[in-house]
Structures are given as structure tokens and as C-alpha cells.
């Protein structure tokens, strides 16, 4: 009882929260800076962004603090030692996946279309840069010299997004006429088709390098500086991510966002309200795809090597798990979901596996190889999907409708009626 009261008191008190939050950020970043091996400190520091989401502060303050954390504190705190680049690599991957999950969220969460081939758009983006930023393009391009320089990367961010959007429309046109349930299968099929195409498009003309993939992709260049290290890509990703986030939030609160949700809630009623169904769904497909395509370009540049194995069905499902876990239709939820799943994949599972291997090696315990956490990914994903669908279908942070200010609307109307009666 006393605890509860104290808690409610605390959740009301802005300054106590701010103080505690600052302390938390300070301690975790110091811990990360001085003890470089501490993955836990790194994860705790990242989680400060989640805490920030729940603080009782003004929206604009939260954005400024978040930007400060992401642009300055996190890169600085993790720069204290040799693990710097690996932290930055993980953070970059988180950024890439968050952006993709936000894209899929438009399709699945807002428009209610289950797309199981979403990674195809990521692949389209990645290949569009890789082909032209390597000699690969000269195999079929009648003019121009390839590879293009690193400056073209910035151009390709837009091109990649655009090409992915076109792919989204092309896939969407036949698919979206289909009744809802089949959409899952058809998109899954398309995802596979695109992967198989990339896997085999080395004959008769070598476009994609086939199963061998494309190696030594030209690194991006800005102001004459080549970007090759994860910490450089971290900032690139961050900027694109912020752009994505901004776009997604604007879309959500626009007439387009409303029509997506209307189509999701009741297609027939939406159409009766004058919303063109196929066009609206195509928009969701195209816009969702473009975010994914853009990050595909970043991914290709960061890895400097791509092949079809990066774009399997499992990747599509991984992004779906992120959206379901975080909360379909909820932007903060999807960000959290994407971060959790990416970190689980890249850090937690590998760390656990290493740890268990160590224990096995030392003979402390004996856990069979088959149970190694790195191999349990599918089981974990399956368990997340089932348990969330059954017990928490709205995800970790459920989607919220925009809250309209009644008083403001009332006043505005009053004011207008005064003017008209004057």
C-alpha cells in the first residue's frame, strides 16, 4: 500500500523523475566508458531511451534529450576501448532494423495487410546500390563507367527507396486485388521469387553475381572522406532513421494514416466513405517498401558485400516478429520491438552461446550442442508470436489514437461563430 502511494507520488513528480533519469544515464554511461566489456552497461544505456519515453515531460524536451543521447552520449560512452566498433555495429543494425520495422508497421500495423515478403524491398535497395557501386553494372549497362564513386551513395539512398517503392507497387497491383487472407501467401511467394531471381540472375547476363553475391561495394564518401567504420555508419543510419521516424509520425496523423486504419478496420465502410481501397493499400505498400529500400542501400554500403542469403524468408519473419512484439500500429512499440529483437539476435544469443560453450568446455555443466541458444532463434520467435498473439495482441506498447483537445476545438468553433454573427 505504502509502496503504491509512493509510486503514484513519484509518477506525478516531474523533477524527481528527471533527477533519477539523469543519474541512471550518468551511471550507465560511466560504466560503459570505463568497463568496455560490459554489454549490460551498453544495453542499460540504450534502455534509457525507453525510460525517457515514459517520463512525464513535454514532447519536445523528450526529442531533444533523445537526440542528445543518440548523437553524443551513446557514441561517446562506448568509445572508451576496443569494443567501440562492435557496439557501434550493433547500434547501426538496430537502426537499420528499426527503420525497416517502421516500414512494415505501415503495411501490417496500420493498413492491416500481412506482408510476409517484406525483406524483398530491403534486397531491392541493397542490390540497386551494390550493382552500380561495383563493376557489376558494366556487364549490362551500354553506357557509363562503373563502379560509380562513393558520392553516389547519397543519391542512391533516394534511388533505392524509389526503386523499392516501385517494386512495392508492382507487387501490390496483382496482390492487393486478392482477398485479405491470401495476401500473406502471395507476398511470401513474391519474397521468395525475388530472392530466387537475385540468386540466379548471373545468367545469361551477370547482373547480381548469383549465389556468389557482390563483393567490395564502394564505400560512401562525404566531403572527400570515405565512410568505412561502423561508427561512421552509425551516424548515417541515425540521420535516416530520424527522417523515417518523422515521416512515419506525420503519415500516421494525416488523412492517409486515417484511411489506412479505416481500410484495416472495415474495408467496405472505408470504401463507402470514398476511400479507394486498392490505391490506399498500394500507398501503404510503396511507402513501407521505400523505407526498407533506403536501409537496404545503407546495409549494402556498410557490409560492402551482399549475397542472397541476407534476404531469406527468415529475415521477413524477423521483421514481422519485431512489429508484433512491439505492438502493431504503435510507432514507439515497433521501435522497442525492433531494438529488442535485433539485440537478442546479435548480442544476447551469441553471448549466451559463448557463455554456455565456456561452461561446457570447463566441464561445469553439459548442455547438448542442439540446445545452443544461437540455434534456438526460431523457437524463440515462434514463442513470441504465439504468446503475444494469445495474451497481448497489442504488443509491448499498444498503439494509441491521437488525442484531440476538446477545449481547443470548442474555443475555435466559438470564435468562428462570433465572427460570423458580428
Amino acid at each position: 500500500m505504502v509502496m503504491k502511494e509512493k509510486w503514484s507520488l513519484f509518477s506525478q513528480n516531474k523533477w524527481a523523475q528527471v533527477l533519477l533519469f539523469t543519474l541512471f544515464v550518468f551511471v550507465t554511461s560511466a560504466a560503459l566508458y570505463f568497463s568496455q566489456k560490459s554489454v549490460i552497461a551498453f544495453l542499460l544505456l540504450l534502455s534509457s531511451l525507453l525510460i525517457l519515453h515514459y517520463l512525464k515531460l513535454k514532447k519536445i524536451t523528450k526529442w531533444v534529450v533523445a537526440a542528445g543521447l543518440l548523437f553524443i552520449l551513446i557514441p561517446f560512452a562506448s568509445s572508451g576501448g576496443p569494443a567501440f566498433q562492435s557496439y557501434m555495429d550493433v547500434a547501426t543494425m538496430v537502426g537499420i532494423y528499426v527503420s525497416m520495422a517502421l516500414g512494415l508497421n505501415i503495411v501490417v500495423g496500420m493498413a492491416g495487410l500481412l506482408d510476409l515478403g517484406f525483406v524483398a524491398f530491403f534486397a531491392v535497395g541493397a542490390y540497386s546500390y551494390s550493382i552500380f557501386a561495383t563493376p557489376q553494372a558494366s556487364n549490362f549497362m551500354p553506357f557509363g563507367t562503373f563502379p560509380l564513386g562513393g558520392e553516389s551513395f547519397w543519391m542512391f539512398l533516394i534511388i533505392g527507396g524509389f526503386v523499392a517503392a516501385i517494386a512495392g507497387v508492382l507487387i501490390g497491383i496483382p496482390v492487393l486485388r486478392v482477398k485479405g487472407d491470401y495476401l500473406a501467401i502471395v507476398t511470401l511467394g513474391f519474397g521468395e521469387i525475388i530472392r530466387i531471381l537475385f540468386n540466379n540472375a548471373d545468367r545469361p547476363v551477370n547482373i547480381t553475381g548469383g549465389a556468389m553475391g557482390i563483393a567490395s561495394v564502394t564505400p560512401p564518401k562525404i566531403f572527400g572522406m570515405e565512410l568505412i567504420f561502423p561508427n561512421q555508419f552509425y551516424f548515417v543510419t541515425l540521420v535516416i532513421l530520424l527522417f523515417t521516424l518523422f515521416a512515419v509520425i506525420r503519415l500516421e496523423q494525416s488523412k492517409l494514416g486515417r484511411s489506412w486504419k479505416a481500410v484495416r478496420e472495415n474495408e467496405i465502410a472505408a470504401q463507402a466513405m470514398g476511400i479507394p481501397i486498392v490505391k490506399t493499400k498500394l500507398m501503404a505498400f510503396a511507402l513501407g517498401a521505400s523505407f526498407s529500400g533506403m536501409m537496404g542501400v545503407v546495409f549494402a554500403a556498410k557490409q560492402a558485400f551482399i549475397d542472397p542469403t541476407s534476404f531469406t524468408l527468415m529475415e521477413s519473419f524477423t521483421i514481422l516478429v519485431m512489429v508484433v512484439l512491439g505492438g502493431m500500429g504503435s510507432v514507439p512499440g515497433v521501435i522497442l520491438g525492433a531494438a529488442v529483437v535485433t539485440i537478442l539476435n546479435l548480442q544476447v544469443l551469441t553471448e549466451l552461446t559463448n557463455w554456455i560453450n565456456q561452461l561446457n568446455f570447463n566441464g561445469v555443466i553439459s548442455i547438448p550442442e542442439a540446445l545452443s541458444p544461437a540455434k534456438m532463434q526460431k523457437f524463440i520467435f515462434g514463442a513470441i508470436l504465439v504468446s503475444f498473439a494469445l495474451y497481448r495482441p497489442k504488443g509491448l506498447i499498444p498503439a494509441k489514437n491521437k488525442v484531440f483537445d476538446e477545449k481547443k476545438l470548442k474555443d475555435a468553433i466559438k470564435k468562428k461563430s462570433q465572427i460570423s454573427t458580428d
Binding site: 486504419k261 470504401q271 476511400i275 479507394p276
Partner: protein, 264 residues
């Protein structure tokens, strides 16, 4: 002047005839009712007018222009809006958002405007919100604006559906059993709302309703469907005494029965 002209409308599903050779007019500014026993083809008739189904033959004209062969969203843009017999709200969206969806076609902003939040977009959006709020107020739903549509009472949901339909600024509104499931007090309220609707929103009304008291009270013109065919039409008094109508509702014996059974 008639706003809607329906001529020889027929719809068949395989061998089943849902509507046969139905012709009717809706006068501008009037309230017209379509009645008939269950399964008489009333909702199919509505679905054809709103473009959900395409008629097998016949024509539908809104202000002299045919709306046959175009999709439901285009029909809505031309100025025909509707409510549904089995309520179809956007359940997870808030009350005011439901109305805002109704205003979809009046909002002119494009993608660029959405991303860059042009002053024009902002202004348009604000005006739409105010308009939506005014509509909600009219239907006594304003205090529920941020509530999820699913959480509303049955009667409130019916009213919200009408508000949403009016938000499209229709010339003709089709109400499919608007009073179904309402209690007597709510029905009375609704009767008043529909009566005033024509004037306040500059709209003609076509409704399906089983509550004969409501129908007789507000309709200027009534069309009776039975087994997909129009069997009678006229003003409430004519319909009340039409033997064919009595037969359709109560069976042939009722017509010759000595007691004056009122089908209403």
C-alpha cells in the same frame, strides 16, 4: 425534381432473383422509405445504389448522371453516402477519427504536404477537426470524441454512423435500418434528427426501416418491396391501406379478414 432515378433495376445471384425491375424516384429534399418483409431485397437494392453490387440490368441516375458501373468510393464522391444494417464503424479508431475519415475526399493535401506539413495542410486539417467536432455536437456525441468507437453504446454507434455518413457532404444519404436495436427514447431522438436532416444538411434521405411508427411519421414517400419486386408506392396513408402491402406482411387471409388489422 428528383435527385435519384432508378429504372428497371434487376439483380440476380446465380438463379436467385434479389431485385426485379424496380423503378423509383427520390425527390430532392424529401424523405423516402423502402419497406418490405425480411428478405425482400431491400439491402441488395441499397448495395446497388451505393456501388457495392453492380446491377444485372437497369439504371441508377444521381442528378441525371448514371452511377452504374463505377466503384463504391466513386459513388461516394458523387454524393451518395450510407450507413449499414450491421454497424460498420472503424472500431479501434476514436469517435472523431471516424468522422474525419468521412471527410477524406474533401481533404486535398498530397504526400508532399503531409511530409512537409505545409501551412495549407495544417489549416485544412484544423478546419476538418472543427467541422467534425461540430457534427459530433449535433449528434450529442461531442463529449465522447476521444473514445474508441467500439466502446460506444449501440444507440451511440448508430448515431456515429450517420454522422460519419454526413461528413462526406452527401446529396443523398441512405440509412439502412437506423433505428434497429434502439430503445424507444433513442428512436424518438433519431426520428427528430432524420426529420431535420434534410434542411440542416441539405440532403435527401432514403431509408430502410422496420419500425413502422417511425416510417409513417417521417416519410413523404414509401416504396414497398416484396420478393425483390416493387408491389406498391405512395404516401403513408396510401401504403397503410394498400391491400397488396397488407397481404405481403400478413399473408393473403389478412386482407379478407373482418377485423381491420393495421400492418403498422
Amino acid at each position: 425534381m428528383s435527385i435519384l432515378e432508378v429504372t428497371n433495376l434487376t439483380k440476380t445471384f446465380g438463379g436467385l432473383i434479389a431485385n426485379q425491375d424496380v423503378s423509383m424516384n427520390v425527390e430532392k429534399g424529401s424523405i423516402t422509405a423502402v419497406i418490405g418483409p425480411n428478405g425482400a431485397g431491400k439491402t441488395t437494392f441499397f448495395n446497388m445504389i451505393t456501388g457495392v453490387y453492380q446491377p444485372t440490368s437497369g439504371d441508377i441516375k444521381l442528378e441525371g448522371k448514371s452511377v452504374v458501373g463505377i466503384k463504391a468510393d466513386e459513388v461516394s464522391k458523387r454524393g451518395i453516402s450510407r450507413t449499414f444494417q450491421n454497424i460498420r464503424l472503424f472500431g479501434e479508431m476514436s469517435v472523431i477519427e471516424n468522422v474525419l475519415v468521412g471527410m477524406h475526399t474533401q481533404l486535398k493535401t498530397n504526400l508532399l504536404g503531409i511530409f512537409l506539413n505545409f501551412p495549407g495542410t495544417k489549416k485544412e486539417e484544423l478546419e476538418a477537426e472543427e467541422e467534425a467536432y461540430r457534427l459530433l455536437k449535433h449528434f450529442d456525441l461531442a463529449h465522447l470524441l476521444n473514445e474508441k468507437a467500439n466502446n460506444l453504446s449501440y444507440g451511440a454507434q448508430r448515431k456515429l454512423e450517420i454522422a460519419r455518413a454526413l461528413a462526406t457532404k452527401p446529396k443523398l444519404i441512405l440509412l439502412d435500418e437506423p433505428a434497429a436495436g434502439m430503445n424507444p427514447k433513442e428512436t424518438k431522438e433519431l426520428t427528430e434528427i432524420i426529420k431535420r436532416m434534410g434542411e440542416e444538411f441539405d440532403v435527401s434521405v432514403l431509408l430502410i426501416e422496420h419500425d413502422m411508427k417511425l416510417v409513417m411519421e417521417i416519410s413523404e414517400h414509401i416504396i414497398v418491396l416484396d420478393h425483390g419486386e416493387k408491389i406498391a408506392e405512395g404516401n403513408p396513408e396510401e401504403i397503410r391501406t394498400n391491400p397488396k402491402v397488407i397481404e405481403a406482411y400478413l399473408g393473403s387471409s389478412a386482407v379478407h379478414a373482418p377485423t381491420t388489422t393495421q400492418p403498422v
